[in-house]
Symmetry: C2
Subunit: 149 residues, 2 copies
DNA sequence: GTATATTTTCGAAGATTATTCGATTATTTA
DNA sequence: TAAATAATCGAATAATCTTCGAAAATATAC
């Protein structure tokens, strides 16, 4: 992929988009200034966190999607938030949840292929000393981020 | 939540946003017409599927987040796509994956609370005749849709 | 129940941005 | 090497967002 498109993809992953007020105004038949007011309100109140793009991840070299269930070890077991926040900074990581059940963390990972996935797991098991981890690989993504594929 | 904001939230969940070309142009120091050309290209090629908003889901009455691992029964077992696509239409469903391992489907569900979650599971186990299902509830969402919370 | 304060609506005008167009340059294909 | 295609980009237009102020609706206090 071209350098410029790669930059765009990375910017659009977390933001650099805006609401399309005029189109909504036509659709729901409300004045655009009223919509503008309400949208700004929701942004200020933190209801809306970001405007972003959803991709065909295969086409941006992130076609391999895996859900990782993780057990933490030692002192991290009782304090999963620290590791969760560090994992969240990783740009291959789509989501991190602290959760109930047999595992403390659920990480959704997007990599190019199984090789890149293997490298990621190898590096992070070592780095964060995961006690145990199970992975569920997506064979087909039917819906992602509320968008049907 | 007010009627108008509810409408906005529902529209922003799947689209009704656009890229912010001028801001990107300044940031990466490229002419906005070049960016425009490349973005339109990516849209046509299906690289970009949608522009949408990410919410603080607690604040839009969808604070309860659960991952559901599902076993299908009978004829559906060999053909999970049909059910996956039907589940994808459900507006409480953020994602649906057909996956490897002990379960055929992985569904990410966002509901108001545990009561609404219970109703959803009850209705859908019956409707789709799930053979078995396990759920992992998110206690804290540290990152969602590539956006840190 | 009424007065006051606050929030929300919304049209008009200005500021900003997206989009089209055409020419140039770069890249690919034959 | 030539021709075809794809990509860049400045200028101008079209469309959009944003601000402003006034009015209406709603909430709060007395």
């Amino acid at each position: 992929m071209k350098d410029i498109r790669l930059k765009l993809v990375n910017l659009f992953k977390q933001g650099f988009c805006v609401p399309q007020i005029a189109r909504i105004a036509k659709k729901i038949k409300e004045p655009s200034t009223t919509l503008h007011y309400n949208i700004k309100r929701m942004e200020k109140e933190g209801v809306i966190k970001a405007y972003k793009a959803v991709f065909d991840y295969k086409k941006i070299g992130q076609g391999h999607c895996t859900y990782l269930l993780i057990n933490l070890s030692g002192e991290d077991y009782g304090n999963p938030e620290k590791i969760a926040k560090e994992l969240a900074k990783d740009e291959s990581v789509e989501s991190v949840d602290i959760c109930t059940g047999d595992y403390e963390l659920l990480v959704k990972l997007r990599t190019k292929d199984i090789d890149e996935y293997y490298e990621w797991v190898k590096n992070n098991v070592q780095k964060f000393k995961f006690a145990k981890s199970t992975s569920i690989t997506s064979l087909k993504q039917v819906k992602t981020e509320f968008v049907e594929m």
